[in-house]
């Protein structure tokens, strides 16, 4: 993390949040004064070195804000008189983001799969008792506290205490059914050696009348740390999530056998370690990138010691680029421009 500032007719501050940085190096590529440096991404990703991914040379930084504009991951932010250039109409804006529709059923699969822990999720399931109907009763007089029922109960609804104590040498036994857990399956009744349990299931009989309660919840994507990998959107069984990625294009492994420039797979896995999207997997000794999950940031390209990974971006969703010189620099991130 750094914060550098310059006072003039305007107060300009460039701040960097390492926690949002993926180590793609786009900022270093676009900086017109060559003031930003990308650190050793692989040792950092492996926890061998503790340092920020990006560092700045304060003396040469022109505080132009191009890095802040080009960073697709909210790691860099230039403010002018305390207003982020990302909020100013005259600066370019990313047309990327995420949306979760009302089709979400709060299954939570997106939350489990997000590689950046950028999804906030909670849900409220109804009580089991709201889904079933029935009656259960245990006759204390007949019960011998054998615990067959409690041990077999699939819902864990029965609690038996059957340890006599010295101070109460007669009996100190109890048996209780938690009706909020009981599903009236009848297992307890069938196993009871003393026929002490009376149980009736009425769920089927009232099937039509029992209203299925709603599962409620809350889910949202924290745009600040989301890296637009699309794992959530791909895994969502209800297609409720839309992710607009920052780039279009492809990423390839260009091995050159003659120069022995070949992927070493498991012995290297540098690409896998730096990938913020969890999009790389080593399959049969080679790194395979699933483009559905890749955001084309290019962090793996700089990390690859064989230099055989090539990202080809055909479009970037950065709109409202009014400056010709900025447009030229930003176009350099794309192929064929």
């Amino acid at each position: 993390m750094f914060n550098i500032e310059r006072d003039g007719s305007e107060h300009r501050v460039l701040s960097y949040k390492d926690k949002n940085c993926v180590g793609c190096g786009i900022c270093t590529e676009v900086c017109p004064t060559d003031s930003l440096r990308l650190g050793p991404t692989v040792p950092i990703a492996r926890g061998l070195i503790e340092m920020d991914l990006v560092s700045v040379k304060e003396d040469s930084c022109a505080f132009c804000g191009l890095c802040s504009v080009a960073c697709p991951f909210n790691a860099l932010d230039l403010t002018i008189d305390d207003v982020s250039v990302k909020e100013l109409d005259i600066y370019p804006q990313w047309d990327k983001g995420s949306e979760i529709s009302d089709d979400c059923i709060y299954c939570g699969r997106c939350y489990e799969v997000c590689p950046q822990d950028s999804i906030i999720f909670k849900r409220e399931l109804p009580d089991r008792s709201e889904l079933v109907r029935g009656e259960i009763d245990i006759d204390d007089e007949k019960c011998i506290y054998c615990s067959f029922c409690a041990d077999l109960c699939p819902a864990g609804a029965i609690t038996v205490k059957n340890v006599p104590t010295a101070s109460n040498d007669v009996v100190n036994n109890t048996i209780e059914v938690d009706v909020s857990k009981c599903i009236f399956c009848g297992v307890c009744k069938r196993i009871c050696p003393e026929k002490a349990i009376r149980e009736i299931c009425a769920t089927c009989m009232y099937n039509e009348e029992i209203e299925v309660p709603e599962v409620t919840g809350e889910v949202f994507i924290v745009d600040d740390t989301c890296v637009s990998c699309s794992w959530c959107a791909e895994i969502c069984p209800k297609d409720a999530i839309t992710i607009a990625k920052p780039f279009e294009g492809t990423l390839e492994l260009n091995e050159i056998e003659a120069d022995e420039k070949i992927c070493k797979g498991d012995s290297c896995h540098a690409c896998q370690d730096v990938c913020p999207c969890n999009a790389v997997e080593i399959v049969d000794g080679k790194a395979v990138t699933n483009l559905d999950f890749c955001n084309l940031c290019g962090a793996c390209v700089t990390a690859c010691p064989q230099n055989i990974r090539e990202v080809s971006r055909t479009a970037m969703k950065l709109d409202n680029i009014k400056s010709k010189s900025w447009s030229e620099i930003l176009d350099s991130l794309l192929v064929g421009k």
Binding site: P43, K264, S267
Partner: protein, 63 residues
């Protein structure tokens, strides 16, 4: 093919900014620490070049 280490440039663990980053980053065990210095075990090297790329002193190159 393995790698070679330029003895003059190498920090020899003690003066390496990361106290032997090459040893730590090589998962093949081809670079090991021995008597306070880095030793190459050529038969274990897989030529992944991670050590070459990440040596803070640029002391490692192809043999």
């Amino acid at each position: 093919m393995a790698v070679k280490i330029d003895s003059e440039a190498c920090g020899h663990i003690e003066n390496c900014p990361v106290q032997g980053l090459c040893v730590k980053i090589c998962e093949q065990g081809a670079l090991i620490e021995e008597n306070g210095d880095v030793t190459i075990v050529p038969e274990k090297c897989d030529d992944c070049d991670l050590c070459i790329q990440n040596c803070p002193n640029q002391a490692i190159s192809k043999a």
